[in-house]
Amino acid sequence: MMNRNAECGFPGCMGSLDCSHWAWHQCPRSMAGSYQSRKGSRGIFVEAVCDEDLWIWHLFVGAPGSLNENRVMHQSPLYLDVTAGRWPPRNQSFTLNGTARSLSYYLVDGT
């Protein structure tokens, strides 16, 4: 996958990350506040990392819908692993614009 991303022009990229919202019909009233999303419905967040042919590399479901994507990312195990140094593996280095790096990254968008 890293090779394919390098072909795409993003060497060292480990796939792209995105969040989606999944509505939850039977949300209990007691939790409606925290599960109310910005779109008005109640639901949970689904965070996924996938590559070009839609193979899902990482999945994190269950964050309450009231969070924004940044917050979701901050509590996902992937992020915790990255910040704790357990992930990504540091043995793959890539050269970018003359600088060698070993910390791979994910492609995300704003919000």
């Binding site: 072909e7 795409c8 796939g15 995105d18 990392v49 070009e52 590399w57 195990p77 600088t99």
Partner: protein
């Protein structure tokens, strides 16, 4: 907003590459009709389990269809090379299922071995260790890779990794470098997307 030409090119390419993950949720909802409909379970646990199941099934589908898969970029490559491409581009269209699977299985195994649960396979293989209460919004880390407490390298290493991952200067530098990299190869990289 992108202000310069090379930032613009970078933006365009990032859009093109990121569209895949935007596609993901569309494909999921088309493939499994439980995904677009609102969940009808009473507990977060069941929702999590359901979505994990959807994703595992989806991954299985992806694996079985990988041979016939043609991304836009690879299609363009194939067209440029006169269709066949063949051996020189091992990752290309014609690669058999054995190679395709081997290529992607290797990293997966490596992930779950070293990474500590970045793969959905690892997370799901642990039998979906769902959170205890409904108020817990976090998936428990997979049991396959129990987290060392305290971290193996000591707390100093953990803090260092945290600082490294959160370094804003590094982020800006990485983006600038990526922009420069993309700018230097813009002709080839953007060609498949500019039809």
């Amino acid at each position: 907003m992108p202000t310069t030409e090379n930032k613009n090119v970078f933006n365009r390419l990032q859009e093109a590459v990121r569209k895949d993950v935007e596609r993901l949720f569309g494909v999921l909802t088309q493939r499994f009709h439980i995904a677009p409909h609102p969940g009808r379970y009473r507990s977060v646990k069941m929702l999590i389990l359901t979505f994990k199941v959807i994703c595992i099934l989806h991954n299985t589908c992806v694996e079985s269809r990988r041979e016939g898969f043609l991304s836009r970029r690879r299609r363009a490559e194939g067209a440029n090379e006169g269709g066949g491409a063949g051996d020189a581009e091992g990752e290309n269209v014609g690669s058999g299922s054995a190679e395709g699977n081997g290529r992607d299985d290797g990293p997966v195994g490596c992930d779950s071995g070293q990474g500590g649960g970045a793969g959905v396979g690892a997370a799901a293989a642990a039998g979906g260790p769902a959170p205890g209460g409904v108020h817990v919004g976090v998936n428990a880390p997979p049991l396959l890779n129990p987290v060392d407490q305290p971290p193996a390298g000591g707390m100093a290493a953990a803090f260092e990794a945290w600082g490294e991952a959160r370094n804003a200067d590094e982020h800006a530098q990485l983006r600038a470098d990526l922009t420069a990299h993309v700018w230097s190869g813009r002709g080839d990289l953007l060609a498949p997307y500019l039809s």
